[in-house]
């Protein structure tokens, strides 16, 4: 019987890149025994989670339960026993406002003899920061200290698990622990083949990731602003979404202040310490939970992605004066 791989993200672990790449190369992958089904208009399979999680018209499927059942039967008829069906949506790993009932999901795909759930986990400092930056594209997340405090208190950022022990426990409500495979996102991204290679390896597909065509080179050229630029722009815009011109001005100010080579983080030193105190023990608990099936799995230390980065404490009075000068010039030029 074909195998089913459910790639559940998580968010901000290059899931869109993975989905786009697999979609782009679905014919090649088919030749290597991996079926990346085309369901709906989107390249990811978010609609399969829409039976539990309201996703809006763009991502939802009309009858997601039926689609899952179709996977069981329709695709299977055309496949070999050695094939693998690969479905991917980071929405499977969401907790709030609604979450997938894992036992129900497991039931809907029960025709597959072998099921593997793949989750790439990003160390919480990078994860929370990345989510904050993405949210900032749509709205102002508000006071950063209150934001981080709430995340730490609830172990959720924008409804997504930051306590991965809880996440795996949630998945294991439907799937056995030996059906769950975790990937260290940072380690996978740094290795040859990158995160796509790591996911395909876990899926059991024998293919050189170099053979895969990139989906859209332009997409990768969109560089996110420096986190401190996002923070500064959000602070200045207060309750409003920071407009692009303000984010760009903040970005230039970050470069002038710290140099073009220095990366930044929106956390203060104290917040980094809090994240370490909060999540290192939880990550150890996660490692113990899956030790029987993945004895070598380790989460990247919380502070590892932040080494050498300028923290929020290093923003001095002159930083905002420099940003103010830019704003004044922009507003005067706009008026003129």
């Amino acid at each position: 019987m074909p195998k089913l791989v459910i790639h559940m993200g998580t968010h901000k672990t290059a899931t869109t890149h993975i989905q786009d790449t697999l979609y782009k190369n679905r014919r090649l992958l088919r030749a290597h025994g991996l079926v990346y089904p085309t369901l709906g208009h989107e390249r990811g399979h978010h609609g399969l989670a829409s039976g539990w999680i309201p996703l809006g018209p763009r991502y939802s499927y009309k009858n997601p339960e039926r689609r899952l059942q179709t996977l069981n039967r329709g695709i299977l008829r055309r496949m070999k026993a050695s094939d693998t069906v690969f479905i991917s949506s980071e929405e499977f790993s969401r907790w709030n406002p609604r979450h997938v009932e894992m036992a129900q999901l497991r039931g809907l795909v029960s025709d597959f003899d072998e099921i593997k759930v793949i989750c790439a986990l990003r160390t919480q400092s990078g994860f929370i920061q990345s989510v904050y930056q993405q949210v900032s594209d749509d709205r102002n997340p508000g006071n950063i200290d209150a934001y981080v405090e709430t995340v730490v208190e609830r172990d959720l950022v924008e409804g997504l698990f930051t306590n991965y022990h809880r996440l795996v426990r949630h998945i294991s409500d439907g799937f056995d622990l030996n059906e769950i495979r975790l990937i260290n996102y940072e380690r996978a991204s740094a290795q040859e083949g990158g995160i796509v290679g790591a996911v395909l390896q876990e899926a059991g597909v024998q293919i050189d990731p170099e053979a895969l065509q990139p989906f859209d080179a332009r997409r990768h050229s969109n560089v996110s602003p420096e986190p401190l630029a996002t923070f500064a722009a959000n602070f200045v815009a207060h309750t409003h979404k920071a407009p692009q011109w303000l984010v760009r001005a903040a970005g230039k100010t970050v470069i002038e202040t710290f140099g073009a080579e220095t990366r930044t983080t929106l956390f203060s030193k104290a917040q980094i310490d809090t994240l370490i105190e909060t999540y290192e023990p939880k990550n150890r608990a996660l490692e113990r939970l899956i030790a029987a099936t993945q004895p070598k799995f380790r989460m990247t230390p919380i502070d590892a992605p932040l080494q050498g980065r300028a923290t929020r404490d290093q923003i001095d009075a002159e930083f905002f004066q420099a940003l103010s000068r830019k704003m004044i010039k922009i507003k005067q030029e706009a008026r003129g």
Binding site: A232, F235, V236, A237, H238, L246, I315, D316, A317, E318, F319, F320, Q321, L323, S324, R325, M327, I328, K331, Q332, R335
Partner: protein, 332 residues
């Protein structure tokens, strides 16, 4: 024959306030035998210093008077024969750079008067230096404060205005005797009934009361908050900051520090200024006390313990300013 009381400021000791009130009450003053001539182009007599300190702002007015010498002649001829007291007021009389009044020549010009009295309000040099910096910044220049402080200490001048009062006495005494010079401690007379204006009226010998007799005028130049002005000026230099930017800085400082007074000087600059002017102030006091034994200089009040200094302005304050600037619809 009339007496003449020449009020020479200096800058930033309420001179505009005195001049506006005297100008607005010329008629009332004249009833009391005090003459405060209207010679343009402002409600004071700065124009009279054009004899020694050229200023193109006065050219048009001087033309209408027939030139500076004609103006001086008119003043002397008109008022010296009268009974009463001529009051002249102009802070440029104290300016020492780039040009200065020749007090010996001035004494000669005023010799037809029965008595000549020079009035000068001595203000703490640190506060004075700060005020002068603020005035310079208002005019569109933005001198670096460290250099401004160093020059004040080295030369006793801030933007050509004496902050070492000994320099004022030195130049005044080229033309006038020490007993013709009345020195007030600015902070002391400011706190007295009738304030700095009453002190000047008392020198004329008149029993006219500033309060209740002379009508009030609109508030003269009130100095902006020093640190707010500095922060705002930093944002727009070399252009002067629009009022909205100053307001943003002022609000941010109020939110953070409540109504604590502020200063443009760092603690180190305050300490340096204090150390430099201790001896100068003591020497000035002794000179004045020779004829006014009760005179003493008020101590400097600008202190890092009580005033918010630039060192205390952290990113919280400048971020609050940035936030307000972002919300401004227009910045002219």
């Amino acid at each position: 024959m009339a007496k003449v009381v020449l009020h020479i400021g200096p800058h930033k000791t309420g001179t505009s306030y005195i001049q506006r009130r005297l100008f607005a009450n010329r008629a009332r003053l004249e009833q009391a035998g005090l003459y405060y001539p209207d010679i343009g182009p402002n409600p004071a007599h700065h124009i009279l210093t054009a004899k020694w300190i050229p200023n193109p702002d006065f050219d048009l007015s001087l033309k209408s008077h027939g030139g500076i010498d004609a103006l001086w002649t008119k003043i002397i001829d008109t008022y010296a024969p009268k009974d009463g007291t001529l009051i002249l007021s102009g802070e440029p009389f104290t300016r020492l750079e780039p040009a200065r009044v020749d007090f010996k020549e001035l004494a000669g010009l005023l010799s037809p008067f029965e008595e000549v009295r020079i009035v000068y309000y001595a203000r703490d040099p640190i506060a004075l230096t700060q005020s002068i910096w603020q005035e310079v910044a208002k005019s569109g220049r933005f001198p670096a404060i460290q250099g401004f402080v160093q020059r004040a200490i080295a030369t006793g001048l801030a933007s050509g205005v004496p902050v070492d009062h000994n320099l004022v006495l030195d130049t005044l005494e080229e033309g006038f005797c020490p007993d013709q010079i009345t020195i007030f401690d600015y902070e002391t007379v400011k706190a007295q009934p009738g304030g700095i204006l009453q002190a000047l009226l008392n020198v004329t010998g008149s029993d006219l009361m500033a309060e209740g007799t002379l009508k009030e005028t609109k508030q003269a130049n009130t100095s902006p908050d020093p640190l707010a002005q500095l922060l705002a000026t930093e944002l727009t230099a070399p252009a002067r900051p629009p009022h909205a930017i100053y307001d943003a800085a002022r609000r941010a400082l109020l939110d953070r520090f409540d109504k604590a007074p502020t200063t443009i000087f760092t603690p180190a600059q305050i300490a340096t200024l204090k150390a430099s002017f201790v001896e100068k102030n003591q020497r000035f006091e002794k000179r004045v006390q020779q004829h006014s034994p009760a005179f003493s200089m008020s101590p400097n009040r600008i202190d890092p313990q009580t005033h918010v200094t630039p060192r205390q302005v952290g990113p919280g304050v400048t971020a609050a300013i940035a936030r307000q600037i972002y919300q401004l619809e227009r910045i002219s």
